[in-house]
Amino acid sequence: MSAEGGDAADREAWAELFGLAPPEPEQGETPRRRGLFRRLRENLSAGPRQTISPQLAGIYAGKLVTQDTWDELEEALISADCGMDATLQLVEELRQEAAEGRITSGADVSGALWRAVAQHMAPEPARIRLEHQPTVILVVGVNGSGKTTTVGKLAYRLAQLGQSVVIGAADTFRAAAIDQLAVWAERSGAHFVRQGQGADPGAVAYDTVASAKARGADVALIDTAGRLQTQHNLMEELRKVAAVVRKVDESAPHEVLLVLDATTGQNGLSQARLFDQAADLSGVVLTKLDGTARGGIALAIRRELGIPVKLVGSGEKLEDLQPFDAQAFARAIFAPDG
């Protein structure tokens, strides 16, 4: 595993996210700024598709800005899953800029668009502060969004930065979820708290935090079972998991991350709203962002509920999970090639 885990620039970005001191570069390694933007582009160039949608390419090539420009822009944003409300708002903002004479060509639209998106997504850089001992991070989401993988990768990154981590397998429902997480725990050298399949997730969560506390660990990471936000009983169970964690440490959980599949459409809003009601979300992890899936729903969530994206994942490899950078995200999705 020593070769995995990216280069120095990667680790620097992670240290920044957690508010930790940046690690020394390994011998003979030249830091290279890769980051999400570059990686997404790499992903995309490997595929058969263009980076940006044909609609956007058409708009950016336009010499003049006309009603057609705005109609096409509206379609492009809808196609990126931004949702109707966020789309109309963005188009209106850009129209306003055009009316004030700051946008006169298609090329102007490009710059204005990605800057507006970046501004909406995150006026401030993403942070996951490790201010407690242990900092308790609860990872939640619907089935198949990528929770277990996210917990695994997070543990690996934290360990890489010298943090001691305890992982709790509170997904006691899905067959073999515990085994899947055990593999990740071993890779990162994290202490692993588990009970049998079908065990009470609240009990596992309690044990995890209690064990992290007893060991003086820096971070307790808790994986939970996937649940659709409309399943009342399961959402109550999640509420209970959070309440049980609070019994060990009143201030916990310190981070509750909703893992959201970037291919999700407008249902993502309902996910964020109902998970927020049950477990008080602090951030979103946008997974499987590959360029086909543009993840515009994260913009709608930020706009409507104020919940920021903190991490993005673009693939299966360890280094495909990255701290969220709004500018890089907006450029990767909306800026022209080159």
């Binding site: 992903n43 995309l44 490997a46 595929g47 058969p48 598709r49 379609e75 809808i78 196609s79 990126a80 899953d81 949702g83 109707m84 619907v142 089935n143 198949g144 969004s145 990528g146 993988t149 429902f173 899905r174 067959a175 073999a176 979820a177 085994d179 899947q180 055990a182 593999v183 990740w184 399949q197 659709l228 936000q229 409309t230 399943q231 009342h232 009983n233 599949d261 291919t263 999700t264 459409g265 407008q266 249902n267 993502g268 309902s270 996910q271 499987k288 590959d290 360029g291 086909t292 899936a293 543009r294 515009g296 729903i297 693939g315 299966e316």
Partner: protein
């Protein structure tokens, strides 16, 4: 399912109601609203355009403009077009003329392939077939283990090779083993893959070439947004799938992906996943789905679920007891469990026409917990008490309440409702459990 779209369309049409004739601008307004609600339902843009232009053209025709009930005409047109787009009727998964039938499962990560594979296996066991599962996901840790556990739950053998990373080889040997052991159906589960991951897409193509499946099923998450079109295109180009399984349709996803995938690929939706339990897989019926979108309920699916869960013998025996007035609390418990097997009450009742509107108007929350409480109370009774509730005196009531974690009042309530129900049945001499509803609402 499709709740929000249903609400939206009803909103639009109640606006049209009672105004007699329509003007062209009325229809334009309705079309805009339909366009918006389809987009919010995640139907992809090109499909929305195609749909609204077809609906609009027909709505401006004489059949609507001159109709005295234009709203009903528009509902009918929308229903027709949605049904037409989703395919005219239910399509079954094609079976090989010479067994074994080989089914290859494909899809993005997290779409639900592994669960869906196990559900399919269970479905075919119930159809009297002898399936085998093959675990070819060598990429996600413990994926094979997950399939092995699920296979065990549905009583289907699972071919897996620990430590092997050769998905093509596992698939080939899995199919060989199925042939050798006389299984007549093989379901090959594969790893989730991004459509832009050329290497992984190539692995899928090689698996397909190696096992020459009877059909390839694309598993699609009902919550998928505009990407559904690209996903369908990419998998279509790579492995030319034959049909779609739509998963996680039990949430509040509006499920526009169903329309998109169907329209773009022309391939039918074969199955829908409607819950976490392994029996929660149903054949897809486009006409029913369209009527569901329009808030007309889905009685057919309800009847089918009932048939699946209640045997004829059970029903006959129960009817006899009801007729003779000898129904006991034990029978009642049985009956209740059969109803619950059909799924959560909210889902079962949601299939009844008009239920959604009633529930909304009266702010009715269907509470599965209430059923659980009744069940707990009966389970806290002795057999004698269940068979002859008259022996339940004050002290027994206290014991039952304590044992079931309820109150004496709740126990009293259940007993008096049960007695009333039995009296009513005796009077009627036939009929079925008229008072079950009374026990649910308080």
């Amino acid at each position: 399912m499709f709740d929000a779209l249903t609400d939206k369309l009803q909103g639009i049409f109640s606006g049209l109601k009672g105004r007699g004739k329509l003007t062209e601008s009325d229809i334009d307004q309705a079309m805009r609203a339909i366009r918006l609600s389809l987009l919010e339902a995640d139907v992809s843009l090109p499909v929305v355009k195609q749909l609204t232009s077809a609906i609009g053209a027909r709505a401006k025709g004489a059949e609507v403009m001159e109709s005295l009930t234009p709203d009903q005409q528009v509902v009918k047109i929308v229903s027709d077009e949605l049904t037409a787009l989703m395919g005219e009727s239910n399509v079954a998964l094609p079976l090989a003329s010479k067994p074994p039938t080989i089914v290859l499962m494909a899809g993005l990560q997290g779409s639900g392939k592994t669960t869906c594979s196990a559900k399919l296996a269970r479905y075919f066991v119930h159809q009297g077939r002898a399936p085998m599962l093959v675990a070819c996901d060598v990429h996600r840790p413990a994926a094979a283990e997950q399939l092995a556990v699920l296979g065990g739950q549905v009583g289907v053998p699972v071919h897996r090779e620990e430590g092997s990373t050769d998905a093509v080889g596992i698939a080939t040997r899995g199919v060989e083993e199925a042939r050798r052991t006389g299984r007549d159906l093989v379901i090959v589960d594969t790893a989730g893959r991004l459509t832009i991951d050329a290497e992984m897409m190539d692995e899928l193509v090689r698996i397909k070439q190696a096992i020459d499946p009877t059909s390839v099923v694309l598993v699609v998450d009902a919550m998928t947004g505009q990407t559904a079109v690209e996903v369908a295109k990419a998998f279509g180009e790579a492995v030319d799938f034959d049909g779609v399984a739509l998963t996680k349709l039990d949430g509040d996803a509006r499920g526009g992906a169903a329309l998109s995938v169907r329209a773009v690929s022309g391939k039918p939706i074969l199955f829908v996943g409607t819950g976490e339990k392994l029996e929660a897989l149903e054949p897809f019926h486009p006409d029913r789905m369209a009527s569901r979108i329009l808030g007309m309920g889905d009685v057919m699916s309800l009847i089918e679920r009932a048939q699946e869960n209640v045997t004829v013998d059970d029903a006959k025996r129960l009817e006899e007891k009801v007729r003779s007035g000898s129904l006991t609390l034990e029978d009642f418990l049985d009956q209740m469990q059969q109803v619950r097997k059909m799924g959560p009450m909210s889902q079962v009742l949601g299939m009844l026409p008009g239920f959604r509107n009633v529930a909304k108007a009266k702010d009715l929350q269907v509470d599965d917990g209430q059923l659980e409480r009744v069940e707990a109370i009966i389970r806290s009774m002795t057999l004698q008490e269940r068979r002859n509730p008259d022996v339940i005196n004050g002290s027994r009531r206290r014991r039952i309440a304590a044992g079931s974690g309820t109150s004496v009042q709740e126990v009293n309530q259940l007993l008096s409702q049960f007695k009333q129900m039995r009296k009513l049945m005796k009077q009627m001499g036939s009929g079925r459990m008229p008072a079950l509803g009374g026990l649910l609402g308080r």
